[in-house]
């Protein structure tokens, strides 16, 4: 048999690559095997329609840990993040709400809708900032098991308690925020409906929750977290699309000596005497390794890649009921011209910015909390939202290389698209779903249908088939209260370790969770290095 590696990693998503880079830098021999022809997983750019580059899945970065960027020297490997400025919420009455990077501009704009809201906005941001700081120590560390009485666990629990204690004044706010709904949270702060809805929408992204579901306020904080490390509201778009992130991680991994093989789908994890020994690829090739690390989700890892006899029944049951219902889809468009938003034409521009500048950030279709909640109601009963929530960016306005001159690409993140449809299959519903998205958006963008050159509709089913995301869940798990912190991915097995010796997890399902943040990959590598002395 060929060479044996210190570590072999399943999946070349950004977490698998980050883990590889950290292990490689510690002197380990590492191989990453990836099923697809390219690296990146859900952080990928593909040219599906000639000349137009789609960030097929994820489309913005903000959660990406600055620590990882500097430790792995990612800018040297080509990472360049271009800032996105502002969020535009078009309203059904023809008006809009614009929040700019520049807080005084935002204030002027909000005052147009409500003086009280303009006043509250800054305080609201400050509160979230403090709360995010209170949660961050937990996010950065390996989670302890509160049900264990082992001294190490108790010590870590006490440390976390102390961290919370330091911000005692925020303790109650935090406890409330952890358990309330994003709608209740923002309604206590603001009166402008479109503002309330757009803020509460960050509490539903990637979840099977509505803005009125308890627990969604925490998700809001989770998405806000990315903003506290770097520059205020420093979310951005990688040059070249999301592959820009993946390529930088791949470069860092290779520079650290790791090998990456694409088109090498794993069929099974080799386990002997309760210990992982390597991998078998689908073509039968065996790869030996001292440590096996899976970056794919726990269902895929333990239900498909691990033979059941290696796992006890209790663990298998926990994996079986691990919730991972996908709820989002994506529509990517190639456009012949710049979309024209009705609200920017009819309402007077109050700021010095030209209409086009309003489109260089995010565009949120979230006119009211009821609108979002109704979109969720559809999903509860197994239908895609007839009037969905959309989070849109036009990458070609930020990085012109994404489309031919004068033309554009549009990335539309759509919720809700439940993986489990009550009727029909996603294969025969795919275009109907695409139509619902376009029809809804055309109400705000009258020229939309005339300028579409090509559209790609990505359903949760497609995410599962093409990217291996079980049930099409975009962040590998549901950000639901019972699956937060301690109980991930299965109770008792939250520390990147698994019940099988030498088999580790490093993907989005592990602490601190989904998004393009690379923290799971980094922390898993640290855990492995510590375990192996």
């Amino acid at each position: 048999m060929a060479k044996s590696y210190d570590a072999v990693i399943i999946g070349a998503g950004h977490n698998g690559l980050a883990c590889a880079a950290y292990l490689g830098r510690a002197g380990r021999s590492v191989l990453v095997v990836e099923r697809r022809p390219m690296v990146g997983g859900a952080t990928v750019t593909e040219e599906i329609y000639p000349g137009f580059k789609y960030s097929v899945c994820s489309y913005v970065v903000s959660l990406l840990r600055p620590q990882v960027i500097s430790e792995l020297d990612l800018p040297r490997h080509g990472l360049e993040i271009l800032p996105l400025d502002g969020t535009l919420t078009p309203l059904p009455d023809g008006d809009y709400i614009m929040r700019w990077h520049d807080s005084s501009e935002t204030r002027r704009e909000l005052e147009r809708h409500s003086k009280a809201d303009a006043d509250a906005y800054g305080q609201f941001g400050t509160l979230l900032y403090h709360l995010a700081h209170a949660v961050r120590p937990i996010l950065g560390a390996t989670p302890p098991d509160p049900t264990s009485l082992r001294p190490g666990q108790v010590k870590r629990l006490i440390e976390i308690g102390r961290q919370f204690g330091k911000s005692r004044e925020h303790l109650y706010d935090l406890a409330k925020l952890m358990t309330m709904s994003s709608a209740d949270f923002v309604e206590a702060w603001f009166e402008t409906e479109g503002l309330r809805a757009t803020l509460s929408a960050s509490g539903i992204i990637g979840t099977f929750l509505g803005p009125r579901s308890p627990g969604s306020a925490y998700v809001m904080l989770h998405h806000y977290m990315g903003e506290i490390d770097g520059q205020f509201r420093a979310w951005g778009f990688p040059r070249g699309g999301m592959s820009g992130v993946a390529e930088a991680f791949a470069g860092a991994a290779r520079a650290a000596g790791a090998e990456i093989r694409t088109e090498a789908p794993v069929a099974e994890i080799l386990i002997r005497d309760g210990r992982a020994r390597g991998l078998v690829l689908e073509d039968g090739e065996e790869i030996a390794a001292r440590t096996v690390i899976s970056s794919v989700d726990p269902k895929l890892t333990f239900e498909r890649l691990t033979a059941p006899e290696h796992l006890d029944a209790d663990f298998r049951e926990q994996v079986a009921r691990y919730k991972i219902r996908g709820s989002s889809g994506k529509v990517n468009l190639a456009l012949d011209a710049l979309p024209e938003l009705a609200c920017l034409k009819t309402s007077k521009s109050w700021t010095g910015y030209p209409p086009e500048a309003h489109l260089a950030g995010g565009i949120s279709i979230s006119p009211s909390i009821d609108y979002l909640e109704q979109a969720y109601d559809d999903a509860k009963y197994g239908r895609f939202s007839r009037r969905p929530y959309m989070d849109i960016i036009i990458p070609s306005l930020i990085d012109p290389s994404m489309a031919p001159p004068g033309k554009h690409v549009m990335s539309i993140f759509v919720q809700y698209a439940p993986y489990q449809l009550a009727e029909g299959t996603w294969e025969d519903q795919r275009e109907a779903f695409g139509d619902a998205v376009i029809d809804t958006l055309a109400q705000y963008v009258p020229n939309l249908k005339d300028i579409i050159l090509h559209r790609q509709v990505v359903t949760p089913w497609d995410l599962e088939q093409r990217f291996g995301l079980t049930q099409g869940n975009i962040i590998y798990r549901e950000l639901s209260l019972e699956q937060l912190f301690f109980l991930r991915p299965a109770a008792g097995w939250a520390e990147y370790r698994t019940p099988i010796d030498s088999l580790y997890m490093c993907g989005s399902a592990t602490h601190p969770g989904g998004g393009v943040m690379a923290a799971p990959g980094r922390l898993a590598a640290k855990r492995i290095l510590a375990d192996q002395g």
Partner: protein, 521 residues
């Protein structure tokens, strides 16, 4: 001339009476003041049509804490509990799921597969253990969160101890269970839709939550604490209705030396130099007391009865942040004869739950979210006159329907005209499952959430004072920083459903508050 009581209690709801009884038994001189002409608040038994009497809201009293019944010797004060009843869930196909009461007759649920019967046993055991653990946490005031010394720290650990005792596996299950939507819990364990609905209904009762809302599992647990009961909400009536319980409480309090006055409205809580010194009545009378304990909801107590100048603006903000959205209406019917539900055993002396699918319960909740009067609310029905004929004239019956979810805030229209519509909706829904029932109606009374607010003085018509929800539980109930009964004004306490231990007819909040007051002196 003026006499000073040790404690004056505003409101003679069941918690106010429990609190009074415990304080009086400890030798305190206690005065209870009730606005209405009868005691019991929303647990009183009221005549709503000549000869027809019915409990105001909760017909049965199985949630009331048996420990308190024992300690206050309520049976010697006239409380007589009747046999447990079963639970009937009529389905749309004309059949019904019937869960007979577990009274040793060996009868078991019919029409559910063996796997579900087994799952029911398992879930029952799990929930009982959980209820026992939480009962011991909810039946004590919470320790202060700022551990100032070793003693406090030990107390905090002690409070959590009942949970630790569950063992690692059950503790994990508990931590997973509490924040979950009850629908997810049940989907994991059961197949039969009507059985899931039968259990899941306990997760939405009295709340602003659907079965798919996180936290509805906690709400189910809270409804099972008294007597540490299991999965199914088998009802248990008191002879004379829930009012018989509150009458017994009044007698127990009086026997211990407390004074109970009805028909007196407290209009002000007097505060002197930041300290509550007594109350002022509508008549102009003033009463002095060392402590004032309010059985009214937190908002009414602090924003209506206390002059705003006595409160810090941040406290006012926190009070305003309390969610108390009423989502329950009560329909009482006087009937010529008992209804016959399709697929039911003879005389279902128990609870009839209309809503045979979790989706149906969820859709009922959707209506309240958008402020609509839904066509298919969830109904929790009891016909207490079957077990207790004294509630109605000979051969006749009273039916009480707890209707969940007509919203307090009925959008685009007021409640006035809507009450007839609600009655029609409820009656149609019963008629669907009990053909011919409508013809037996002799009289009706509809109480909308707005009526409940006016009649019983509870903000928003929220029967639990403070909505049961994860973020209004334990240290966050009724509001952050003030979960210890003692309110931001010295000498002012709360003892009602909106406090720790409260929510529903349990008596725990009243007893906890009494213990806190006694410990403070």
């Amino acid at each position: 001339m003026t006499k000073t009581y040790d404690a004056v209690i505003v409101g003679a709801g069941h918690n106010g009476l429990v609190c009074a009884a415990y304080l009086a038994r400890a030798g305190r001189e206690v005065l209870v003041l009730e606005r209405r002409e009868i005691v019991g608040g929303c647990a009183a038994t009221e005549e709503f049509a000549p000869g027809f009497r019915c409990p105001a809201t909760f017909p049965s009293v199985e949630t009331f804490d048996p420990e308190i019944t024992r300690e206050l010797q309520l049976e010697s004060h006239g409380l007589r509990l009747l046999a447990q009843g079963g639970v009937l869930v009529p389905r749309f196909d004309g059949e019904a799921l019937y869960l007979p009461p577990p009274n040793g007759t060996g009868a078991r649920a019919e029409g559910i597969p063996d796997s579900d019967a087994e799952a029911l046993n398992e879930f029952d055991v799990f929930l009982r253990r959980l209820a026992a653990a939480f009962h011991s946490i909810l039946s004590k005031p919470l320790p202060d969160l700022k551990p100032s010394g070793l003693g406090d720290l030990l107390e905090i650990l002690g409070t959590g101890w009942p949970l630790r005792k569950l063992g690692a596996r059950d503790l994990r299950e508990t931590m997973r269970f509490l924040p979950m939507p009850i629908a997810d819990v049940l989907d994991e364990r059961f197949e039969t839709d009507a059985l899931k609905a039968a259990i899941g209904a306990g997760g939405i009762t009295g709340s602003w939550l659907g079965p798919r809302s996180p936290g509805s599992a906690l709400n189910l647990l809270l409804h099972r604490l008294g007597g540490c009961r299991g999965a199914v909400g088998y009802p248990r009536l008191a002879a004379g209705g829930s009012g018989a319980l509150t009458e017994a409480l009044r007698k127990a309090a009086e026997a211990a030396g407390a004074t109970v006055r009805t028909d007196v409205e407290v209009t002000d809580i007097t505060v002197v130099k930041g300290r509550a010194t007594g109350v002022a009545l509508g008549s102009g009378e003033e009463i002095q007391a060392a402590v004032v304990i309010s059985n009214a909801d937190p908002r009414t107590t602090l924003l209506d009865l206390v002059e705003p100048i006595h409160l810090d603006p941040s406290v006012v903000l926190a009070i305003r942040g309390i969610r108390s959205r009423g989502s329950v209406a009560i329909v009482k019917l006087a009937l010529d004869r008992a209804p016959r539900f399709s697929g039911a055993p003879e005389d279902p002396a128990g609870r009839i739950q209309i809503g045979a699918h979790l989706d149906e319960l969820e859709q009922a909740f959707d209506d309240t979210k958008y402020g609509r009067l839904g066509e298919r609310p969830y109904l929790d029905i009891q016909i207490p006159s079957i077990a207790d004929p004294s509630l109605a004239p000979d051969g006749k019956h009273v039916l009480s329907a707890w209707v969940q979810f007509p919203p307090y805030d009925l959008r685009d229209r007021g409640w006035e005209g809507a009450k007839d519509d609600l009655a029609a909706i409820v009656e149609k829904r019963i008629e669907d499952h009990a053909p011919g029932f409508s013809e037996s109606i002799l009289a009706r009374e509809v109480a909308s959430p707005v009526d409940l607010e006016e009649r019983y003085g509870m903000t928003g018509g929220c029967l639990y004072h403070v909505e049961p929800a994860l973020d209004q539980f334990l240290y966050l109930r009724p509001m952050p920083r003030w979960a210890g009964y003692q309110m931001p004004i010295e000498g002012l306490y709360l003892c009602g459903s909106g406090t720790h231990g409260g929510g529903g007819l349990t008596g725990l909040a009243g007893r906890n508050a009494a213990r806190r007051v006694l410990a403070t002196k």
